[in-house]
């Protein structure tokens, strides 16, 4: 039996989770709490402010997580933290906290790749054994499959990530960041009905979102400055809800298409969606229809796991720890760029 505590803070969420692994039993989540730095509408979160947020909440969250879990410090086997990728200052503030705990409690440290954290937690929760993974978040859009001890990137967004595209679009339309811009776009999209013709850019298993963003930003800009936009067939007015709808329908179709291409290429019928955008129910629905058509199924998790969290860092860290991996204090740095395929996955067949 081993227990790990995981600390995550690579973007605007600070998460602390405690997990227990018992051989031949599912992992047990003893606690998984999060505090989010929410910026005002029309603004993104800046690294400096986000780091201040993390620093001021981390002690409180660790104490609360320990209390909820009922675990004593003595029972903890290792401290896992996000090594990257992510924003420099927030990553560092959490790494400092992790180092402090490791020294204070005399426990080994384990640096974890954020993306691998998402993948391993998704596999654990859903039971998807060897899926093609679509990882979609604020900073990442990747289609991943496992081969030969690594999570290999088969496709990705060539310019900006899907989450970033959604966030920036929300800013243009002054959509609230609370609880998250993507969530609010999803709610608005449910009321949209006209599909406007948006650039659709797929290149093999890669795709591109900057064309979409440019187009829809210009379109929304004209709308906000009073120009009347109408549907060519019905002559009805185009609403901001229609824009959200069209953005989702187009961008998600691209994501499903590149995932399907990877599934055909590697010969898999399972697909797992992870990362913050993975909470979107329309994306899950579209992916489900595609997978069913191929005789397979889609696996997805809810917001506790697809939004950045500490438990996934604890889980992936503990998997590595059990194979003998630790991160010595003097190597316990963090890095803004840390590709998914850089990690040697020793714990899988």
């Amino acid at each position: 039996m081993t227990i790990a505590i995981g600390l995550e803070g690579s973007a605007n969420k600070l998460g602390v989770g405690i997990i227990r692994h018992t051989p031949s039993k599912p992992a047990e989540i003893l606690s998984n709490i999060r505090h989010t730095f929410v910026s005002p509408p029309g603004e993104g979160f800046l690294p400096k402010d986000t780091a201040i947020h993390h620093r001021s909440w981390v002690v409180k969250l660790v104490k609360q997580a320990l209390k909820e879990s009922g675990v004593t410090i003595r029972e903890v086997d290792c401290i896992c933290y996000t090594k990257g990728p992510g924003m420099g200052a927030p990553l560092q503030s959490v790494a400092v906290a992790a180092r402090t705990l490791a020294l204070l409690w005399d426990k080994p440290l384990v640096g974890v790749n954020h993306c691998v954290g998402h993948i391993e937690m998704g596999r654990e929760i859903t039971g998807a054994d060897n899926p093609v993974v679509l990882y979609v978040s604020g900073g990442n859009t990747q289609v991943i499959a496992y081969a030969d001890q690594r999570y290999r990137i088969f496709g990705e967004a060539l310019d900006i990530a899907i989450g970033n595209c959604l966030d920036r679009f929300a800013r243009t339309l002054n959509i609230s960041n609370d609880p998250a811009p993507g969530y609010n776009i999803e709610q608005m999209a449910k009321k949209g009905k006209h599909l406007i013709d948006i650039p659709y850019t797929v290149k093999g298993m890669d795709c591109s979102f900057s064309g979409i963003l440019g187009f829809i930003d210009a379109y929304a800009g004209e709308m906000l400055s009073g120009a009347e936009k109408r549907d060519p067939d019905t002559r009805e007015l185009i609403t901001p809800e229609d824009l959200c709808f069209s953005l989702q329908e187009t961008a998600f179709a691209m994501l499903v298409e590149i995932t399907e291409r990877a599934m055909a290429h590697v010969g898999s019928t399972q697909v797992l969606i992870v990362g913050g955008v993975g909470c979107n129910e329309r994306l899950q629905e579209m992916m489900g229809i595609m997978a069913r058509d191929r005789g397979g199924s889609v696996y997805a998790t809810d917001e506790r796991f697809c939004i950045d969290n500490g438990i996934m860092i604890a889980h992936a860290g503990l998997l590595a720890f059990q194979t003998g991996f630790t991160t010595p204090i003097d190597e316990s740095t963090c890095t803004q760029r840390f590709r998914t395929d850089e990690v040697f996955v020793k714990w899988r067949e």
């Binding site: 900073g139 088969f154 329908e249 179709a253 629905e285 579209m286 760029r337």
Partner: protein, 250 residues
């Protein structure tokens, strides 16, 4: 008048977006492939129609273009724009993907000398691939989905040639053929060509992680066989860097 639909075709494969059937065209001894793009129920009907139609027409045009300009690909026999179907030449070879999988997995079971012979053959295949892509780009055609699944091996037509199967070790008698042009376009832009190579690079290295060395041969051959290669390859460096420099927050 369009011919009757060839309902006696047998479904051979569900590709990434197409269903492909094997049948015969006009004569019982002329095998053909019917490529059908079924509607994708996951996406909005309007978007689906737009994409399906565009891809069918663009694939047929690009196949004809390549054919007429000397890049090896299946001959188009018939296009049914309404149904979005293409009837084309049947290529009787394995895909390069299946070929490499068998080859490389086999290689670990062979002795050293045998491996050397295999290496020489593989090098020749990679050389051939680089040449084919180089030619494609020289006629300002972008494939749009370069992977080893979309490269096939076709036995060269000469009397008495044996059909190549995935276990066959003789590559000497086969040509590399490009298929699946639905995402292609005509473009002379270095950026488009560089992205074409980048797509291939990542797909290749992820699919055949033990064959990293082989990809370098493709690029080297492309360098020697494509007139505009130096600018494209410089651009490829930039595209790679862009990939690595992306912020990746969250």
């Amino acid at each position: 008048m369009p011919p009757l639909r060839l309902i006696d075709g047998t479904l051979v494969k569900q590709g990434a977006e197409a269903h492909v059937y094997k049948s015969t065209f006009l004569y019982p001894n002329v095998p053909c492939l019917i490529k059908v793009r079924p509607t994708k129920p996951y996406r909005h009907a309007t978007l689906d129609m737009r994409l399906t139609k565009h891809r069918c027409i663009s694939e047929a045009r690009l196949l004809n273009r390549c054919r007429s300009m000397g890049v090896l690909c299946p001959t188009v026999y018939f296009v049914d724009e309404k149904r979005g179907e293409i009837i084309m030449e049947w290529i009787e070879g394995p895909s390069v993907r299946d070929f490499l999988h068998n080859y490389i997995d086999d290689a670990s079971d062979h002795g050293k000398d045998e491996n050397k012979a295999i290496d020489v053959q593989l090098d020749a295949l990679m050389e051939n691939i680089g040449q084919t892509i180089g030619k494609l780009h020289d006629i300002d055609t972008i494939h749009g989905d370069l992977t080893t699944s979309n490269l096939m091996l076709k036995p060269r037509e000469s009397p008495g040639t044996q059909v190549l199967d995935t276990a066959d070790t003789s590559l000497a008698n086969s040509d590399v053929v490009l298929i699946d042009f639905g995402l292609g376009q005509v473009s002379s832009s270095d950026e488009d060509k560089a992205v074409d190579l980048y797509v291939l690079e990542r797909a290749f290295l992820s699919t055949h992680p033990r064959a990293t060395r082989l990809f370098d041969i493709i690029i080297d051959s492309y360098k020697r066989n494509c007139l505009g290669s130096s600018v494209v390859l410089r651009r490829l460096q930039e595209v790679r860097l862009r990939g690595r420099k992306k912020s990746m927050v969250g």
